[in-house]
Structure formats: structure tokens, C-alpha cells
């Protein structure tokens, strides 16, 4: 007997008449249905149905095409034909992705056979760890959901990227996570926020951190790495990046769909939560988003995902998985699309376990409810899989099968509600766009007057850009799995900052380092330099932690404001050029990435866009435990050495920002020289010559030296006259300049000769020593102390920068 629920719809689906609509009518339809499709897209669909299908589409089909073609899923801007007008003149770029990412990686793969084991196609990029194992990494953004509902948005952001790893290859084991946030300043006055319903940065920060905490901790995946940027431009549109790394046997990376497999869904149920997330994230935010689009944010249940994860990993180890993918944006429609797009097959929506009755066909098919994995398995494996599902207390449902029709056929209560020719389905029209970039005028070789330098150091150390992230880090379990050997906070005192984090991997002698970098401040004036410097800083952070520079792979995550604005798109084009140059120069390939557009907010006073933001994250191989290198001073009586040139330009620096100086030139970078120095540094690591090393980045040498000193093992004395320089930097530039590619090293006095010899021909100098006689950080210039500060006191400043707000 069927019990009719009063809210059951009359029909599961409906046909939409589009054949006779004019372009304007098509545009209105797209808007009414919130399809986020352009009029050109709609015309393409109209033609397809008129010429090939000879019928009207169903709502399920339109929704399915809309999500497949959405910017979120299809990356149409990265695939667009762009007419770019930049400093080098006019040019036409046929796909940013192909030109600046994929082709660069392909060239590197030719030079380094056997290193990259999978890129761009699967859920994550894979690199070789050892003979038998590979590691993989994926980073996602969850910006719009986090703006509207910070806790749930960040919660499911991490939940989603963990599922990416579970669906990478035949199911990788998640071993570490990272998170990066861009927020408005937590001390901003609410009255300065120019739109109703926008959540104060403090509320965003607290919600987001707790969202990540509650998902990552419950999943038992250590959150080992991260960053927080504060800038007023992120008030209306905060950014939340979540990443997860995994490990998998190399033989389980390749997966092939074929006909006559059973399609099963595992994990959570399907509900109305998370409808149209993919299309929602492809639109700008405004006050209405806060009111209307709550249903686009899903609710997370990490235990549901943990059970599904236990199931997936066990099933993969037993060899029962033929193909697997997660239900992310687009839900079943994208999972089924991925699985059945070539072979074809049937899905039966009435079989999907639901959270609520009365869901229509498109709602079930498109729902982005969390914690669902979709697998293709042999029929003969079903009994064993059902038993496993019982063991781990997760729900398993057979929802369809593959065939060899080449058609995606979706059934609901016996009716065919969607039939798509998959070769057409993924064929969105190429967009044509225009972009321009005109470099601003920026001052080079500015003269910075040295005032009270100790006070400046305090100010910089306490600034939101630099101060300790400890209150956040301590809320994340970064030790679960028992493999975190270089922790985000370490050194003799256990609370000093490190560069990359390193985890050991069970069953291997080799370890994985994970690190990241972003420099949005640089991009405001010189996005191309930002691209280069961001890759440089990321690679350097891994090398400094002990990774072999030849075995590092990168991920790119772009967040952009309005791509329809040629100037904003121009910034993106220039950034892409920068990252491509650095990737090529370092032979550090991109293996995965993601982009997020429409990160702007329509306030009453106009649109507020985020600055172009490019997060580069990386995984690298640390070949043995003894190579793991911390960033904290270990002993008194060591020497301090610097690698790399210090220049005079402070553009993009925290110092310039703190002093409110704009329009300053950003530093130059010599990629070839940098790579050579990283290779040499790694030789020194392998020879056991390095006690500790820290990359010199935000805050410059002064902050780097202070941070190294925060292990409180010795005082530091540094002679600024001894720095290898380019140009003639004054003491402010020497202390606070952020010239890239530099490393500060602690070396035992007895080993320093050998180290110096190794660095022959490379910019390198011994510039100071660690001292048992005092617990201060002291810089001399021209033989005089120009900065003299008690480490304990400046550490206090640094350590408590966020505590009041968090």
C-alpha cells in the first residue's frame, strides 16, 4: 500500500517549452529557474533540442545541463578564448588552463617521467612517493556558503574536499588537511560594513574555524597547515579554502568505467539541503543571497562521512571498487555524469534513500546533500559490500547500472525523466572574453627613514598579517594519526611557527611535506610578480622543511571578483603568466587546481570585489626522517647564514602596509638563481649541515629571525652589513623587505665551512650567531646596534595578536 503524503507533488518532472522562445525569453527562463546560463548557452540548448532531440527538454535535463555547464563545474572562464591587452601588447589566449597550467605540466612531465602519476582528470593530482605508493592533494574553495552560513559552509567545505580524496583513484586514504582563510579585519567597526545581513569578520572567523574543526577533528584527519589573510576587501566576500592530502597504492590510481556494472550510493541520504550549490556559487553575492539562498548551503554530518570513509577504504583494500567518485557539486548528476558519460547507463531515482518525502526528480538528481559516495562495482561483489556496509553502519543502495548505450538515462517511478547524449552534455560553448592589464606606476628604490626600529618590529609582529595563529591551530587536532613529525607549531618551546608541515606515511620510509602560500597584497600592483613570488614562497617553504626540490608538485586555487570586468580578468591573466613561469623554471608541475569567480558583493555603494587571490599549495617528498628540518633555533653558539639577495623594494610588504604606504614597487625575482640555491640547500640538508632554517617571507628578515628565536634557546645577533644585497637597501629594507627566494639558516659553527663551500657561486653569507649570553634579538648596522629587543617580550606581542579576537 502506498501512503500518499500531502506534500507529494503531482508530477515528478515537467517539460519546459523552449522551442519558441526568443533570446530574451530564454534569458528570462534561465533567470527564473536560477540556471546561471547565459543567453548564448540557452540558444545552444534550444538548437540541440530542436535539431537533435526533436522535443522539449525536461526540467531535470535543463538543471543537469546548467550545473554541468556552470562555472563551478566546467571552469569555462579558464577555458575561454581571451583577447588580452597587456604590457606586451595584444594577444589571444586560447584557454588560460591549457596555456599556463596544463601545457606547462605536460612539458615538466616529459622532463620528469614517473613523478606525476595523475593530474587534472581525477578528483586530485597524484605524485609518486616510493615504489608502491602515491600521495595526492586537492584544495577546494567554499566561499559563498561560508559567507552566508560560516560554520556550515566551512564544515562542508572540508567535508567535500575529504570526499574528493576518498573518490581519488579507487579511494585514497586522507592523511592531512590544510585550510586557508581570507577575512576582513576582525577589529572593524560594524558601522563600516555597507550592506545589511553581512556577517562581521569576527563572526565569520569564529564560525569558519569551528566548522573546519568539527569536521576535521571528527574525521580523524590532522589539520596540519594553513594561513589567514586579513584585508578589508574580504569583508563582504570572505574566502575559505580547504585541502586534503591522501595516500594510495599506485596500482589503485587508475580506474576505468565499463558496461554491466552496478552503481551504488553509500553514506548519507539525499535531501533538499544543498540544492543548486554549483550554480549558486557561480553568481555574485548580494543581500538577497543572504535571504534567499540558505538552501544552497548543506548541513554536515562528519560521522556519516567517517562511516562511509571506513567503508570505502576497506572495500578498496579488498579490491571491490571498480570506479568511485564523490557526490560534490551537482550531486548525483555530476557523479553519474562522470561515471556514465562515456559508457551510458540507467539511474533510478526512486531507489535513492531520501531525507524527506516529496522530492521531485530534479531535486533528487541535483541535490548536493553531503556525505555521499557513488561506486561502480561488479554484481558479484554486492553481497560482500552489503556486509561491509553493515559492519561500518553505513547505508548502501543500488541505484542503477552501466550499459553501453552512451546515453545517460534517468528514471523516476518508471518514467524517463532525463535522457542525454553525454558527448553533447559536456560540450559547453567556448566563451569569448576580453581582458586588459595596465601596470600602475609604482615607485622603485624608495628611501625609507629608519625610526624606532624595535617599535616597528613590535608593530609588524603584532599585526594581523604576522601574529601567531595559535588560537586557531590549537582547536584543530593536528596530531591524530600519530604521523605529524613537523607540526605547525614546534621548536623547543612547542609554539614557534614552522614553514611547511611534514607527515610520515605508514609503510614508507619517505615522508610528505605540505605547504602553501598566497600574496594578495603583491597582486594589487603586480599580479604577474605575485604569481611568480607565490610559487617561489610555496616551493621554498617545502624545501626549507626538508623536501627534495625535484619532487614537489603544485596546486593552484584562484579566487577572482567579476570576470566580466576586463581589468579584473586582466589581473587573472597576468597572475597565470607568473605562476606558469615559476612552475616551468622550478619544474614543479601543477597537478590539480580550482577556480572561483564572482567573488564580489553588490553593496548600495557599488560592487566590492576581492583582490585577485591566488593560493598555491604543494605537496613534496621528504626522502627520509633525518631530512625533516624545523624553523626554530636549537642551540647557542651556532652561526646564522642567509641565502639569497636582499633588495630595496618594499612593495607588497607587511611593513609598507603597516606604514600605510602605497604604490611601491614589488621586489624582483630571479627564478633560475633561486632554484639553484634550493638545490644546494637540499644537498646541505642531506649532508646534515642544517640545524634549522626558516623561509624569509612576510615581515622580512627581522620577523624571520624573531620567529626562529621564539624557541627561546638563545639570543640572536645579526649584522645587516653582511647581507648580500642587490641595489643599495637601507636598514629598513634590510630588516623588513620581502625579497623572495631567501632562507635564514642556523648552522653549527663546526659545519659552517663546509656549508659555505657547498654554496660557492650562490648568494650566501654568514650574517650572525646565536648567543647564550642574552635572550635578545639584536641587529647591527655600521657596527652599531640599530634594533635590540628582548625575545620574550616581542614573542608575547606576536603570540597574543589574535587572542583578544578569537
Amino acid at each position: 500500500m502506498t501512503v500518499m503524503s500531502p506534500d507529494l507533488p503531482v508530477e515528478n518532472f515537467r517539460r519546459i517549452a523552449i522551442r519558441d522562445l526568443d533570446p530574451e525569453g530564454l534569458g528570462e527562463l534561465s533567470e527564473d529557474m536560477k540556471l546561471s546560463l547565459s543567453i548564448d548557452d540557452m540558444i545552444e540548448i534550444q538548437l540541440y533540442y530542436a535539431a537533435e532531440m526533436r522535443r522539449e527538454p525536461t526540467d531535470v535535463e535543463l538543471e543537469c545541463i546548467a550545473q554541468t555547464w556552470s562555472e563551478h563545474c566546467k571552469h569555462r572562464i579558464f577555458g575561454a578564448r581571451i583577447e588580452h591587452c597587456g604590457p606586451g601588447g595584444e594577444e589571444v589566449i586560447h584557454s588560460l588552463f591549457k596555456t599556463y597550467i596544463k601545457e606547462v605540466t605536460e612539458r615538466i612531465m616529459e622532463r620528469k617521467p614517473g613523478f606525476v602519476l595523475g593530474c587534472f582528470i581525477d578528483n586530485a593530482g597524484f605524485i609518486r612517493l616510493d615504489e608502491n605508493k602515491a600521495v595526492c592533494l586537492k584544495v577546494e574553495t567554499h566561499n559563498h556558503p561560508s559567507a552566508i552560513e560560516p560554520y556550515a559552509g566551512a564544515n562542508t567545505g572540508l567535508g567535500g574536499v575529504i570526499r574528493d580524496i576518498l573518490g581519488a583513484g579507487k579511494g585514497a586514504k586522507p592523511i592531512a588537511s590544510c585550510d586557508v582563510f581570507c577575512f576582513g579585519p576582525p577589529d572593524i567597526d560594524s558601522a563600516d560594513i555597507k550592506a545589511v545581513d553581512v556577517i562581521h569578520p569576527l563572526g565569520i572567523m569564529r564560525g569558519v574555524v569551528r566548522g573546519v574543526r568539527d569536521y576535521g577533528n571528527r574525521m580523524g584527519i590532522p589539520t596540519i597547515s594553513g594561513a589567514v589573510q586579513f584585508d578589508p576587501a574580504y569583508i563582504y566576500n570572505p574566502l575559505v579554502f580547504c585541502g586534503t592530502a591522501g595516500v594510495i597504492p599506485i596500482t589503485d590510481i587508475d580506474k576505468q568505467m565499463r558496461s554491466d556494472l552496478r552503481i551504488i550510493a553509500v553514506g548519507g541520504r539525499t535531501g533538499r539541503d544543498g540544492l543548486k550549490g554549483a550554480t549558486f556559487s557561480s553568481m555574485a553575492l548580494d543581500t538577497e543571497s543572504h535571504e534567499d539562498d540558505q538552501q544552497a548551503v548543506q548541513i554536515g554530518n562528519p560521522i556519516e562521512e567517517k562511516k562511509a570513509a571506513d567503508f570505502v577504504l576497506d572495500a578498496r583494500q579488498r579490491g571491490l571498487v571498480i570506479f568511485i567518485t564523490d557526490c560534490g557539486a551537482g550531486g548525483f548528476s555530476s557523479a553519474a555524469g562522470e561515471m556514465l558519460s562515456e559508457v551510458g547507463g540507467n539511474l533510478y531515482l526512486e531507489r535513492a534513500p531520501l531525507k524527506e518525502p516529496g522530492m521531485t526528480s530534479w531535486e533528487i538528481f541535483l541535490s548536493e546533500s553531503q556525505e555521499r559516495m557513488v561506486l561502480a562495482v561488479e554484481e558479484s561483489a554486492l553481497p560482500q559490500l552489503r556486509e561491509l556496509a553493515q559492519t561500518y553502519e553505513t547505508e548502501l543502495t543500488e541505484i542503477g547500472e552501466s550499459d553501453h548505450s552512451g546515453l545517460l538515462k534517468i528514471w523516476h517511478d518508471g518514467e524517463l525523466v532525463c535522457e542525454l547524449d553525454n558527448s553533447r552534455l559536456h560540450d559547453a560553448p567556448v566563451r569569448h572574453m576580453r581582458s586588459e592589464f595596465i601596470p600602475g606606476v609604482s615607485k622603485a628604490d624608495m628611501d625609507w627613514v629608519a625610526g624606532d626600529l624595535a617599535a616597528d618590529l613590535r608593530e609588524v609582529l603584532g599585526d594581523f598579517a604576522i601574529c601567531s595563529r595559535e588560537p586557531i591551530i590549537r582547536e584543530y587536532d593536528h596530531e591524530v594519526q600519530g604521523n605529524t613529525v613537523l607540526k605547525p607549531l614546534a621548536g623547543a618551546s612547542g609554539d614557534a611557527p614552522q614553514d611547511a608541515s611534514v607527515v610520515r606515511i605508514d609503510g614508507s620510509d619517505q615522508l610528505m611535506a605540505m605547504g602553501l602560500a598566497l600574496l594578495p597584497e603583491w597582486g594589487k600592483s603586480d599580479p604577474r610578480a605575485m604569481g611568480r613570488a607565490t610559487v617561489d614562497e610555496c616551493v621554498r617553504s617545502l624545501v626549507v622543511a626538508g623536501a627534495n626540490p625535484e619532487r614537489i608538485a603544485l596546486l593552484d586555487n584562484f579566487c577572482v571578483g567579476n570576470p566580466e570586468d576586463p581589468r579584473e580578468l586582466g589581473m587573472l591573466v597576468e597572475t597565470c603568466k607568473g605562476i606558469a613561469e615559476a612552475s616551468e623554471a622550478y619544474s614543479a608541475p601543477f597537478v590539480s587546481g580550482k577556480d572561483s569567480f564572482y567573488n564580489y558583493f553588490e553593496t548600495e555603494e557599488g560592487a566590492v570585489s576581492i583582490p585577485i587571490t591566488c593560493l598555491i599549495s604543494a605537496m613534496g617528498i621528504v626522502e627520509q626522517q633525518s631530512h625533516v628540518t624545523g624553523a626554530s633555533i636549537r642551540k647557542a653558539g651556532s652561526l646564522l647564514a642567509i641565502v639569497g639577495l636582499s633588495g630595496s623594494d618594499l612593495g607588497g610588504s607587511v611593513y609598507a602596509r603597516v606604514k600605510g604606504v602605497e604604490g611601491v614597487k614589488v621586489p624582483e625575482i630571479d627564478l633560475g638563481a633561486a632554484l639553484e640555491s634550493y638545490r644546494t640547500f637540499h644537498k646541505a640538508v642531506a649532508a646534515g649541515l642544517i640545524l634549522a632554517a626558516h623561509d624569509i617571507s612576510e615581515g622580512g628578515l627581522a620577523v624571520t629571525a624573531a620567529e626562529m628565536g621564539f624557541s627561546m634557546q638563545a639570543g640572536l645577533e645579526i649584522d645587516l652589513d653582511a647581507l648580500p644585497v642587490s641595489g643599495s637597501p637601507g636598514s629598513v629594507a634590510r630588516l623588513f623587505g620581502e625579497s623572495p627566494s631567501r632562507i635564514l639558516i642556523e648552522v653549527a659553527e663546526a659545519a659552517s665551512g663546509q656549508l659555505e663551500e657547498l654554496f660557492t657561486g650562490i648568494e650566501f653569507a654568514v650574517i650572525g650567531r646565536t648567543n647564550a649570553a642574552h635572550a635578545k634579538l639584536r641587529f647591527t648596522d655600521g657596527g652599531e646596534y640599530i634594533l635590540d629587543a628582548e625575545l620574550a617580550s616581542i614573542k608575547e606581542q606576536w603570540k597574543n595578536g589574535l587572542t583578544h579576537y578569537y
Partner: protein, 247 residues
Amino acid sequence: MEERPNALLLKFPGTNCDGETARALEVAGFVTEVLPITRVTELALEAAHLVVLSGGFSYGDYVMAGRLAQLETERKLGDSLIRFRDKGGYLLGICNGFQILTKLGFLPRGSLINNTSGRFICHWTGLKREVSGNPFMNGLPESFELPVAHAEGRFIAPEGAAKSYLAKGLVALTYSSDINGSSSAIAGLTDESGRVLGLMPHPERFLWACNHYDPDWQGDGSEWGWGYMMFKSIHDTIAAELAVVSV
């Protein structure tokens, strides 16, 4: 050949330290089996010498940490765990396992509630060993360090009880500073037999010296961390008992 003792690790939905805890048990010499609670039988318990409840968030720790796992264990196993203990079996509960063992009534009365800070904390902490001759603690110095990671780690007991637990030798470990508001800084408890131990810190996360945050940490000069010593201690205790039986 010497008989290796058997350890059985019970896994609930949301248990997430089972991998590294099983690894620690193996490294210390146990034959180790990780068994989801749905598959645990009285027979499986009978073959074990040590039953371990590892860290994690069983059933999400919804309602209260360990509460749903307690109910599920009781439903599934009835009194078999009690019989296991009464017949001389050893029980170890780490973090969430401590919370569950407390709820199940294997340890002195009390409850583990939210840290006074109201926050999850993940850091290393100094510990003081309050007992001597406990089978889990041979070879550990009086003061040592382990990492903690918990939101509900504050042990509270009925008025005056915490002090009496100290006096009776039921407090196995105390924190060297107040990290979560626990009564009498209690970090770990044992029962009167000494065969049941529950503790909030994570010994399985300090198996090797390289797990320590300080690259210059020396410990006892070996490659091992203090956590290893705990697993080794209980292993050696059980192995010695088995040797006597087989003689």
C-alpha cells in the same frame, strides 16, 4: 617461541585513532585486531588479553562524549566486558576510550565534561605519574610528556572524591599544569585492580622520538617516545603472565 599476547581494539562509528593505536600495539608486540562494534562477540573477547578503546568521536560524541558508545556496548555485549575484566583481562581507554570506560563504570565514578576554556585543545602537556607498579606504567619516569587533543577532557567527580582517588592510588596520571580544569588535575585513572586504565593524553601519538615537537628531545636516549613505554609496559606484563602459565 614466546607467545604474543592478543589485543582487541573496539571500533565505533567515529572512532578515529584506531589505526595508530593498533600500530602502537603491534610495535610493542601484541597481535592486534581492530573490530567494529557490530562484529564484536563474546568469543572475540575471550581470545583477547587486552581490550582497547581508542580515541575518536564515537557516534560524534553527540549527547555527551562516550554516552552513545556506552549504550551501544552494553546493548551489544551485555556483561561480557565485565566478565572479561573479572577473569583477569586488561582494559585500556584512551581519550574517547577513557570517556567510554568511565561511562561504562569500569573506572572510579566521575564524568568528563567540557574543558573550562570551552574549546578543543591540541597540544603537548607535562604529566606526573602518580602510581608505581601499575602494569601500564613500568619504565615511565615520574614526569614525562604526551600530547592531548580533546574538547571534553575535564574530569569531575562527586565532592571530595577526586582527592580520595588520589589517596587510594586510583589516580594514575595528573597534568603538571591546569590545562582543562580537571579536579585535582586528573589526567588518567585506574581501577582498584590496576588492570583498567583510562587516560585523556594520547600515548599512541608519541611512539617514536620523532613525534616530539622539539627536534632535540632526548628522552631515554633511544628512538622511542614515552607513549611506546606504556604499550611496552602492558605488553611485558601480559607476556610475563603468559610465560608463567605456559611453564
